[in-house]
């Protein structure tokens, strides 16, 4: 009837628009549910803002119109358009990673390593890089849920007050807190307060990827809880018994750094690493010798190794070898490693993986002690005793089942998903009267909880924690909570009755206490604090729980002491850590203990195992962790280093196992162990021990989000949930698996053709790989330093059709990648994604080969398909000086910069894709679709905040590729110009280089003869990949040098 445009007349009318309702629910979680009474100015502005946002999104033009307002009064110290770095830290499973976060106009956009932290010595991991996307994830929970119905912060506070007051009255009977592992002293203090208030309450710590076997091992070996610290810088011989020290160790970054710094073939410094492992890890790929064994075999191997070492040390005869140990490679290995360890007494390291039994950990301690490594390359720090996570978790589930738990508070975990299959947490949770779930997402657990409380991201709130060595690290917020979240500290304070706790004050108090503890207390107080107590902080908590008054007194005393010691809160926050707070190291005395003999089956070779006797090992694949990062597209799309799988996990098995089971790649199988079974797809991976199947945990989430799968909203799950096969007492390996083919196949999206390729292609790969990834032993390198260059194909006529530019002038950028140091951790890949706004394309697009990563890690298998060697190399645009891509572009969209870079003008590109065809490295990436189309959805608006404002977001139809982080080059040049100086070496650190924990990537000016990169380029082992094409790449590779043990040389 009325054809006039509809103008809204009342707020109530506007309010009825369903899309607005949805938008409000996301953007202003409280506003959506509160009655719009009256029209306060603030509410009016919010609504107008929302409707403008909707109007902008609905028009669908290519360029959205946006109004920006300058500051009327500029905040002090804020310089628009400059990057500022803030210290913070990310805690994962009780270990802090010190970080700096780059922020533009108070909007964080990129995670960087902490440059000055005493423990973190460069590099970050992929999780930390990707946490930026998690912060801006539109799927994050922004609404308090009361039995899945929207509620408010006030509503929860009212409820909590009643609930916890009542609980306090009973001394906390039936109150249980289920927390993730934490190293936060503030959390430790709050926990003490809570326990003082509610003595009958219980605090249970649970991590699905629990490392508590190590703790139990130390108790067995030393009688008390000790943490092991490895000094890989000093170690000459490293023996890893199923320990993925570069992939899943809490100190992986530092370990990798130290390992690489003791691996400088050009200076003649080379350690040697042996890895015995139950799946192919990046540690195994980096090792000089790798032996694939099933998890249970590792145990047998370790026992034999100890026997051999003892024999060499003259402590009795070596035990007779049996089974697989008596023959072949394993037999030789036992003796060779024992020899090497004994020859390097005090300079060796034996480390045991979290998946191994406690007694093998104890055996590791004994070996280190026997060999004199303890106290030299291996040190310990002591902690208060606590119950092991799996046992405590099981006890909790039993209590819940028995109806003894009235109030369960879950601090950030997702036990409904990640509980092992033998514990039915969901059923147990149904028997709990009141359950409160604090989490970033409305996940599997949140849906079953009576209350869900949105959690603040670590970049939104104050926090603290300790790096692996114990250094107190402060996490400061980068932005106010985007989704009205609450931190775990606040929730625990609420439980203890403090509804006004400020996380910053809590963290500040902890920092003060730490500083105070650094200064020796006055003589009269010395008796109160024994050195033993000081040496035994319980992963974030002090030993005894003093009464409340004492605590207050103690706090006041600490404040005074800190003040005397010159405590400066601003400086502490700025630095992000309190120096000198590392735990003191001790060398505990070894007790006498015995190691249980492994089962008979462990001695069988993998090929002799029948179906039904197979082993299944569970692992963290470096992407979704235990499932908590499942909704992170950056991580989901990162190709696994070894399998190159994206968006999935699989049943990883060796070719021999697959042949024996009559299955092949992509077949769907059912794996049954002890009455439980899971269905998943087969992935054939050379180097997986035969008779063993490896499965990554953390997949198959049913309530992760749009990216990671959300069943009730119609988003398919990503990968397969393998938790049902795990047991609380066997979190990492179970035996006796039966595999049946269920028929049908499943599409697995890999970014690289893999083992199951035609023989013709396989032969070509075998032929090419050694020339692409050049490698030699340290011995060969010493004899023939130029070996890598000598592998170049001869060519005599270096003709170029075109006149080359003069490369002798100005800055000329170049890069080197040291293959000796690359561990394939993927940090560079995710860092590049974050820095350069690289889009995520999804599984369907990866399946058709359209992943967009500018940086990738190529890996090739060499040798035997059951026990291959991995050759891998990070690959991105190498910036050819005679670039084939530049010559063929009809519109000149890719041209050469005067500083030697191969530049892309996105605006000019029309997308002929000719450049990509002509690129011999195939590093160019094409936007086949508009991969940022989801941003048009108003609820994804928050996602736009993750973009690096210095980098263009590319439209469909445009080619893109590595730019050598041209924005960083220009930023540094601008800064230098403002300061009136030339650029110095090290002014520009490109994103991949910054993230690399082993300094494998070096970037700089090759015209500066003293620059790092020039020195690396001048090394004898530097070479150009595909040099015979005469395209003169600017990125040079440094050949991989391994340090094999001559005694284990292949015949």
């Amino acid at each position: 009837m009325n054809t006039q445009p509809q103008y809204w007349r009342t707020l109530a009318e506007l309010e009825n628009a369903p899309e607005l309702q949805e938008f409000l629910a996301k953007e202003f979680p409280d506003a959506a549910t509160t009655e719009l009474s009256g029209s306060s100015r603030r509410r009016f502005l919010q609504l107008m803002g929302a409707s403008f946002a909707l109007a902008g999104a609905a028009t669908g033009c290519r360029w959205e119109k946006e109004n920006i307002l300058p500051y009327a009064r500029r905040p002090e110290g804020l310089e628009p358009g400059t990057i500022r770095y803030f210290s913070t830290g990310m805690e994962l499973a009780g270990a802090m990673q010190a970080l700096q976060v780059a922020s533009y106009d108070n909007r964080p956009f990129k995670v960087e390593p902490h440059p000055r932290h005493p423990f973190a010595q460069g590099g970050t991991d992929a999780y930390a890089q990707a946490s930026m996307l998690e912060l801006f994830d539109p799927d994050r929970s922004g609404t308090y849920l009361d039995k899945n119905a929207p509620s408010t912060a006030e509503g929860f506070a009212t409820f909590a007050r009643q609930q916890f007051q009542a609980a306090k009255a009973t001394g906390g009977r039936g109150v249980r807190v289920l927390a993730r592992a934490s190293s936060s002293p503030s959390m430790g203090r709050l926990k003490q307060q809570l326990m003082a208030e509610m003595p009958s309450a219980k605090w249970v710590q649970w991590e699905s990827l629990s490392r508590d076997n190590a703790m139990l091992g130390s108790k067995l070996a030393f009688g008390s809880n000790h943490r092991t610290h490895l000094d890989l810088k000093a170690a000459k011989v490293i023996v890893s018994l199923d320990d993925d020290i570069f992939g899943s160790h809490p100190a992986r970054l530092r370990l990798a750094k130290d390992w690489s710094s003791a691996r400088k073939p050009d200076d003649g410094v080379m350690n040697r690493m042996y890895v015995v492992e139950s799946r192919y890890t990046s540690t195994g790929a980096a090792a000089d010798h790798r032996l694939p064994l099933r998890s249970e075999q590792v145990k047998a191997f370790s026992i034999a190794l100890e026997g051999a070492v003892k024999a060499k040390l003259g402590m009795g005869a070596a035990p007779a070898k049996k089974g697989f140990l008596a023959e072949g490679k394993a037999s030789k290995w036992v003796d060779a490693i024992a020899d090497d360890l004994v020859a390097n007494k005090g300079k060796g390291v034996v480390t045991v993986g979290a998946g191994q039994d406690a007694d093998i950990h104890a055996l590791g301690h004994r070996l280190n002690s026997l060999l004199g490594n303890a106290g030299a390359t291996v040190t310990y720090t002591s902690f208060a005793d606590r119950e092991a996570e799996p046992a405590a978790f099981k006890a909790l589930v039993d209590e819940m089942q028995a109806g003894q738990v009235d109030t369960l508070v879950i601090l950030g975990g997702n036990p409904v998903y990640d509980a092992p299959g033998d514990l039915d947490f969901a059923a147990a949770m149904a028997k709990v009267k009141t359950s409160i779930h604090l989490g970033l997402f409305v996940d599997e657990t949140a849906k079953l909880a009576s209350w869900h409380v949105p959690m603040a991201h670590y970049l939104e709130t104050w926090g603290d924690g300790r790096t692996w060595d114990g250094t107190l690290t402060i996490a400061q917020p980068m932005i106010t909570p985007l989704f009205n979240g609450m931190s775990a500290l606040e929730l625990v304070a609420m439980m203890a009755g403090d509804f006004t706790a400020k996380p910053m004050e809590l963290v500040k108090a902890s920092a003060m206490a730490a500083v105070a503890a650094l200064t020796p207390p006055p003589a009269e107080d010395a008796a109160a604090e024994t050195p033993a107590a000081e040496a035994a902080p319980a992963e974030g908590e002090a030993e005894a729980a003093p009464a409340q008054q004492d605590l207050e007194l103690e706090t006041a005393r600490q404040a005074l002491a800190a003040f005397k010691a010159g405590f400066d809160w601003r400086k502490t926050v700025h630095d992000g850590f309190v120096a000198g707070t590392a735990f003191p190291t001790v060398v505990p005395a070894l007790l006498d203990f015995s190691v249980a003999a492994p089962a008979e089956r462990a001695f069988k070779a993998g090929a002799d195992l029948g179906n039904g006797e197979l082993e299944v090992v569970f692992y963290e694949d470096g992407k979704v962790y235990d499932g908590r990062f499942a909704n992170n597209g950056w991580l989901q799309e990162t190709p696994d280093f070894m399998t190159k799988l994206t968006w999935d996990n699989a049943a990883v098995m060796s070719p021999a196992t697959a042949i024996k089971l009559g299955v092949t790649d992509r077949d769907l199988i059912k794996v049954a162990v002890g009455g439980k079974s899971v269905d998943l797809a087969v992935y054939v991976q050379p180097g997986q021990p035969t008779g063993s199947i490896a499965m990554a945990v953390g997949y198959g989430r049913t309530a992760a989000g749009i990216v990671g799968g959300y069943k009730t909203k119609g988003y398919e799950q990503v990968g397969f949930d393998v938790n049902p096969l795990r047991r609380h007492d066997a979190l990492f390996a179970v035996e006796g698996a039966q595999v049946t083919k269920t028929g049908g196949t499943y599409k697995l999206a890999t970014t690289q053709t893999h083992h199951m390729i035609d023989t013709l292609g396989l032969a070509a790969i075998q032929k090419r790989a050694p020339n692409l990834v050049r490698a030699a032993s340290a011995e060969e390198y010493a004899k023939e330093p130029e070996f890598a260059k000598e592998m170049d194909h001869e060519f005599h006529h270096k003709l170029s059709l075109f006149e080359e530019m003069d490369w002798g002038k100005g800055y000329q950028w170049g890069m080197t990648v040291d293959l000796s140091n690359c561990i394939g951790c993927n940090a560079c890949v995710v860092a590049c994604t974050s820095e350069n706004n690289v889009p995520i394309v999804g599984k369907d697009q990866v399946l058709v080969g359209r992943e967009m990563h500018w940086m990738r890690i190529d890996r090739y298998f060499k040798g035997d398909s059951e026990d291959p060697v991995i050759a891998h190399m990070p690959m991105a645009c190498v910036h050819c000086q005679n670039a084939p891509c530049e010559q063929v572009c009809p519109v000149g969209a890719t041209m050469h910069g005067t500083e030697g870079t191969n530049d892309m003008a996105y605006n000019r590109c029309i997308g002929t894709r000719y450049c990509a065809n002509n690129c011999p490295y195939k590093v160019r990436r094409f936007n086949f679709h508009n991969y940022n189309e989801d941003l048009k959805d108003p609820k994804n608006k928050v996602k736009t905040m993750v973009f690096n404002p210095d980098v263009t977001v590319r439209f469909r139809g445009v080619m893109e590729k590595c730019t050598y982080c041209t924005q960083r080059i220009h930023y540094a040049k601008r800064t230098a110009k403002v300061e009136g100086r030339a650029l110095k070496d090290g002014d520009i650190v490109v994103a991949c280089q910054a993230a690399c924990p082993t300094d494998a990537i070096v970037f700089g000016d090759i015209n500066d003869k003293n620059s790092q990169v020039s020195k690396k380029r001048a090394l004898a082992r530097s070479y150009e990949v595909l040099k015979e094409l005469n395209i003169k790449p600017r990125t040079l590779y440094l050949a991989q040098i391994r340090n094999p043990n001559p005694a284990l040389a292949e015949a």
Binding site: R768, R850, V888, T912, N917, N918, K922, N927, G957, L1026
Partner: protein, 478 residues
């Protein structure tokens, strides 16, 4: 004697060294030829079958258009192209159609210069096919780019930003080569049409027809001066077209040959591409001519001898192509380049071996059937062979483009290309466009060059007494 004459009349494919073969059969004179050819556009109502074919073609062309619209909306991602295989079906189709578009100009220009009189019956037809093929071909480079609304950026258009195309890029050479070829071919075709359009104008019975054909015949009166200028210009255009026949596919081959991709980077490409283009072009002419001559009753103008001559060319160029295939392998081996060697080995025995062997069977083996005169001169048999040749030539471009790209230098980036439904619909749709144009041509324009055919008839030469008898004197070269 009379029996010999009769046998020539019936079977002009028989070679008798004592006489030249007849090119026009059925005792035609100038009038009957005019009637036969001009009669087609003059029909009041056209056969139902034409309507059926036209409806089908227009539907497919519509699908083509809708596909392109969707492509603009959604992007290149609707096709199967991926990371190693940046060029897929659109480029294959482009090269395929450009190749098809070779026969027409070859017939008109080169055979004209070589005084091959038999060309006159088929040249109009072949030229029309050429132009429509080039039209189809030109669609693809325009839409295959990532931002298909910007293909004009490839033209050297002066602009305020001084943005200029990159003259080092073979794609730019393509723009000029194909553009020139299309323009000159269209000009040449239209120029040849003028006298015939005037004939239809003069015979027109309605005002509209008179006007329409009148406008396009550009005031042709048939005066001696007109004829003189016409002949001179035609000769010049023929001379201009001749190098273009060779250049256009040579330049198209540079898209591949100047790239450094193993399997593309070979010097044999220009002659190999030209031979292949002529091969596929003639195959297409035969495929279209056989049904068209039956449909419009032109058997006496487009005789078996014409078809046989074309089949002989197909046989010859087919062997050239076969030679090129084997020479590529030889050089790959002889050159001892690891990557090139692998590429060719991979073509024949790798994941795309099926495509390679389709190509070889269709292009090398199937034309060998033309050694048999029976097959060479039996219309339905030759159509089957020619369809195989067309399939084979499409696969040749597929093999060159895709199998080289899918496995190049670094094995980490190897991939596999599979077409999507949109690839297929676009390719099929391009046939719709082609046939729409072609059917319109058959309906409204003289499908045989009336004037030229007449010039080749014995009757054009005054001193004959009984046609066929004075064969040596007549310009009936065969």
């Amino acid at each position: 004697m009379s029996s010999a004459v009769a046998s020539h009349e019936i079977d002009n494919t028989r070679d008798d060294p004592t006489r030249r073969a007849q090119l026009i059969l059925g005792g035609q004179d100038f009038h009957t030829v005019t009637e036969m050819v001009a009669g087609i556009p003059e029909q009041e109502r056209i056969n139902r079958n034409w309507w059926f074919a036209f409806t089908l073609a227009v539907s497919l062309a519509g699908m083509f258009g809708l596909n392109i619209a969707y492509l603009f909306w959604e992007g290149t991602g609707i096709w199967g192209n991926n990371n190693p295989v940046g060029w897929g079906w659109p480029i294959v189709n482009f090269v395929f159609w450009v190749g098809i578009g070779h026969a027409g100009t070859l017939i008109s220009a080169i055979l004209f210069l070589l005084r091959q009189q038999w060309r006159t019956s088929i040249n109009r037809f072949a030229e029309a096919m050429t132009i429509f093929a080039v039209v189809c071909a030109l669609v693809f480079p325009g839409i295959h780019i990532g931002r298909p609304w910007l293909p004009y950026w490839m033209f050297p258009l002066p602009n305020q930003m001084s943005m200029w195309p990159n003259f080092r890029s073979p794609l730019l050479w393509d723009v000029f080569a194909v553009g020139t070829y299309g323009t000159v071919s269209a000009l040449f075709w239209y120029y040849g049409l003028i006298p015939d359009l005037a004939t239809i104008r003069d015979r027109a019975k309605t005002k509209i027809r008179k006007f329409a054909y009148g406008v396009f015949s550009l005031g042709w009166t048939g005066s001696a001066r007109h004829w003189h200028r016409y002949e001179r210009t035609y000769l010049i255009l023929a001379a201009l077209c001749t190098p273009l026949v060779l250049s256009v596919h040579s330049v198209v081959s540079f898209d591949f040959a100047t790239a450094q991709l193993p399997g593309w980077h070979t010097t044999i490409f220009p002659p190999y591409f030209v031979a292949g283009a002529i091969f596929s072009g003639f195959a297409m002419v035969v495929t279209l001519a056989v049904p068209a001559r039956a449909f419009f009753g032109l058997q006496n103008l487009i005789t078996l001898r014409h078809l046989e001559n074309m089949n002989k060319i197909i046989l010859a160029t087919g062997m050239m192509v076969g030679y090129a295939y084997s020479m590529e392998f030889f050089i790959a081996w002889y050159g001892a380049n690891e990557y090139e060697g692998f590429t060719f080995f991979n073509r024949a025995f790798g994941p795309y071996a099926w495509a390679y062997w389709i190509m070889v069977s269709c292009n090398v083996i199937s034309p060998q059937l033309f050694w048999f005169k029976k097959i060479r001169t039996t219309p339905w048999m030759m159509v089957i062979v020619c369809i195989f040749v067309n399939i084979g030539m499409w696969f040749e471009r597929f093999v060159i483009t895709v199998t080289s790209l899918h496995r190049d230098f670094l094995p980490s980036s190897w991939g596999y290309f599979s077409p999507t439904i949109f690839d297929i619909m676009l390719f099929v749709g391009s046939f719709g466009l082609f046939f729409t144009l072609f059917l319109l041509f058959l309906r409204w324009l003289p499908v045989v060059a009336i004037a030229e055919v007449k010039a080749g008839m014995p009757a054009a030469h005054g001193h004959h007494e009984e046609h066929g008898h004075e064969a040596e004197g007549a310009a009936t070269h065969g």
